[in-house]
Symmetry: C2
Subunit: 234 residues, 2 copies
């Protein structure tokens, strides 16, 4: 089941992990700490790239506005994730927006500094480009889910993905997102999302406290998805 999660995970927390400790020091020394308030944008569609970010603490959503205005969230970044580098590899503008879902502590690497790092550390460019390739596959998988799965299945899949990500990165339990954001991830209205959540609650799959969702029975979810999750659950 490890494969299940990696199919939907950018793995952008690993970008600096392959480096030697010496190289890592080089990278981390160039970082400037920043505080970004809940609701502020790290970057926005059509904006000019200034550098890359690594999240030290907190969550952020990456989204794009469809041409009729509504927000489509296609990724939630959490602690450790590196982001904002696509635009630097040749693009002029950002292709999407990124907003802090809570007060954020981030490390920033300015554009010029980042390019110097790429020159100083030969393995780095390859690692980043390789990851962009991986992320490409993740988006393709997200497309397959959105196009082929019904609401309950989309919700189930995204609950697994989100719990896994939050647990892995922030070591927190439970999924804490607004109903609107969650609906904008799985492609439905908050009302329909609410109905599915209620079903899951009634079936004992999840519990809800305030707005935080806790997965109570992972096996039931895998069953719902017809995945044999019992042999090798994450």
């Amino acid at each position: 089941m490890k494969k299940f999660y990696s199919q939907f995970d950018f793995q952008s927390e690993l970008l600096f992990e392959a480096l030697t400790s010496e190289e890592k020091k080089l990278v981390y020394d160039t970082m400037e700490p920043l505080i970004i308030k809940k609701g502020s944008l790290l970057f926005y569609e059509e904006g000019i790239p200034t550098g890359i970010f690594q999240i030290k603490k907190g969550k952020a959503k990456k989204f794009k506005r469809g041409f009729s205005g509504t927000e489509q969230i296609f990724y939630i970044y959490t602690t450790g994730d590196v982001l904002g580098y696509h635009a630097l590899f040749g693009e002029e503008r950002y292709q999407d927006s990124c907003e802090a879902l809570e007060d954020l502590e981030v490390n920033f690497i300015a554009k010029d500094v980042f390019f110097q790092l790429l020159l100083d550390i030969p393995a780095l460019q390859r690692t980043f480009i390789k990851n962009i390739g991986h992320e490409f596959g993740v988006l393709a998988n997200i497309i397959a889910v959105l196009a082929q799965k019904n609401l309950n299945a989309r919700l189930a899949i995204n609950l697994l993905i989100l719990e896994n990500r939050f647990q892995k990165h922030d070591n927190t339990s439970g999924i804490d997102l607004t109903r609107e954001d969650l609906a904008n991830i799985i492609g439905t209205s908050p009302e329909s999302l609410g109905r599915s959540l209620k079903q899951f609650k009634d079936e004992g799959i999840i519990e809800i406290d305030k707005r935080v969702i806790f997965i109570k029975n992972e096996d039931l979810i895998f069953k719902l998805l017809n995945i044999t999750g019992t042999e090798n659950t994450p």
Copy 2:
């Protein structure tokens, strides 16, 4: 409205266009012509990359199997398009599959030859990576459409996209795909697709000959989508 189309187009037919005629010659001299039979794969998920392709004539579908087996098509390549390079920029395996929809004439550049070209032509690597960035945005837009639009809107958008692409590349009129493939692009069943096509036909938006779909009234489509297509239609 040019922007509308480019939001959904990989623009991978332009990759060699920015080169000087001398550089172009260098590239085209390395190409080996191949014939690929309808139904054969140019490459497949998990396969080891061997090189890149440029389509001289014909159509191919790029798809991925969701983990419950069904095929999700996320791009249709046509004449002029270059493909298969993602996997070469750092990935070990292909992330998706590509199948000939009709007998295909392609030009092939072997992996090693391609890497040598990247060294010989400095601008080339940047162009390719820039395009991968652009393609990333295209996938995000596809996600937004699949998540937010109902069936008729998804069909309408994809009819526009496909007609535009076939016209531009192959200079053929009409959209000639199996109902199953078209359904696997827009994320529905062939039966539901048929119902929407019939509606469009009854409203005078399209005409169908055999299985080929012709757009008869583009304005009605833009109206359906609430896009002001009248001022500057493509």
